[in-house]
């Protein structure tokens, strides 16, 4: 064995300090609500949120669905929108990176639509689709497409030009260079897009649900506002954050495994 595995100790401060900071944060939060510095009509204490969380696990009142149903609805919408944005944005970005014709045609329109925040499309989607799932999927799709296109595009543009020339000396056609060289070169950027697009999708989902929904985590938050229940608002926020973090982590693990297979 040329290489011995050595156990590297994590410094104790890196284990203790995060625990300390989280503990302090929640204690302070609990305290300022309990002591009435911030009235409980404006902010819910962590203990109240946990209590509501346990209730909402089984009780559909007052907003009409249990917590899992809200999470399921949101997850479903986000996932469909996300997949559609990958299916559309990645090929478009890759093609734009290599084929001048596609770049020339698609770029101006893309640059026009890109600066419009997806949330701004909500009124139109309500005209078109009502408050059903289609409108929200459309908003989420819009949010996810942009990073997909940009990353895939940049990834292809970063292909080593000498490798392209090398392929040409072997008689590779444009299409062969695109498929066998540009796409593999762009893969790390494409995986970056998977992460970024997911975050964009999730963020836009909550925005869309705040305005047009009858179920979902965003809807839970907006119901909390309408019913003047700060604990429900905070519960919705916490769930959005938690589910988002879990999905992000899952994608990162997947990326590690797939890229390890490619880079080796």
């Amino acid at each position: 064995m040329a290489y011995e595995s050595v156990k590297v100790e994590k410094p104790l401060s890196l284990i203790l300090l995060p625990i300390l900071s989280v503990f302090t944060f929640f204690s302070a939060w609990e305290l300022i609500v309990d002591t009435g510095i911030v009235p409980s009509t404006m902010l819910a204490a962590p203990s109240a949120v946990i209590k509501l969380f346990l209730i909402k696990l089984t009780d559909p009142n007052p907003d009409g669905a249990i917590l899992a149903a809200h999470a399921w609805t949101s997850g479903k919408e986000a996932f469909i929108g996300y997949l559609l944005s990958l299916a559309f944005g990645l090929p478009l970005g890759l093609l734009m990176g290599w084929f001048t014709v596609v770049r020339g045609l698609a770029r101006p329109i893309f640059e026009l639509i890109r600066p419009i925040p997806p949330i701004a499309w909500i009124p139109l989607t309500i005209f078109w689709f009502g408050i059903g799932i289609e409108g929200k999927v459309f908003i989420i799709w819009l949010g996810g497409v942009v990073p997909c296109v940009i990353n895939a595009f940049v990834g292809v543009r970063m292909t080593n030009p000498t490798l392209i020339q090398m392929a040409r000396t072997y008689g590779a056609s444009d299409w062969q260079i695109f498929v066998q060289l540009c796409i593999p070169s762009a893969l790390p950027m494409v995986f970056g897009a998977l992460q970024i697009a997911l975050v964009c999708c999730w963020v836009n989902l909550v925005g869309a649900e705040l305005l047009a929904a009858d179920q979902g985590l965003g809807y839970l938050i907006s119901m909390g506002r309408r019913l003047a229940l700060p604990d429900m608002v905070v519960l919705g926020m916490v769930c959005v954050g938690f589910v988002g973090a879990v999905i992000g982590y899952a994608i990162e693990r997947l990326e590690c495994r797939l890229l390890a297979g490619i880079r080796r």
């Binding site: 000498t162 000396t169 072997y170 056609s173 880079r263 080796r264």
Partner: protein
Amino acid sequence: MKSADYASSQYICLERDNMNTPKIVCQNISKIFIQKGTQRVHVLQDISLEVRDNEFLVILGPGQCGKSTLLRIIAGLETPSEGTVLLDGQTVTKPGPDRGLVFQSYMLFAWRTVMGNVEMGPKLNGVPKAERRKIAQHYINLVGLQKFENHYPHQLSGGMKQRVGIARAYANGPQVMLLDEPFGQLDAQTRIFMEQETERIWQTEKRTVLFVTNNIDEAIFLADRIVSLEGKLPGRMASVYDIDLPRPREHTDMKFLHLRQMITDASTLTL
């Protein structure tokens, strides 16, 4: 066999007076690059040379004197500003499978195995899998990489990577091999070993070779003929040396050292 037929047909139709029809002819090649839109850089001036069939020709010159540019023009990756390149009497306008290029910086596909890299040429040209595997395996064995077929480039040393580059160029069936400082990134020991390997490979499978280097020893060790370029822009031909030492050569041979001294003296004059 095939190239012999070809040479004889050339012999008849071009009415050459000997069998040594030049494989490559460079006629008065000049190259001017436009840099940053406005700046003209005169890189090559009036290069004329002929490379005979199966000759090992070394182009020798210090860095930045236009060696790579000359090779890339012959490869068809750049067009000369003036002059023409003829390959078997045909003007070169674009890259083609008749010329195999080996790059200084390896240029392997990191996501493909040794086999995947070497079989690239035949694969791109639609050769069926079994056949291209056979071709690739032949050249992998020739460069001494058997048992490494399934390794990825990052698992190989620099010398081995360049062996892959050479096998890949060979596997595409070129008549001419163009090597651009192929061992420039290797340490001195590996470099000398790779020079011996190059000699062995070339003796086993003769091709017309154009080999670019900045290393005088390497040039004398390998060349049938050395064309040296002047050490400043624009690159011009300085001198041509016929190296008729018996092969394989010895770096410590008296004649070798004598030639080395002569070329060194001559090139310091032009620097």
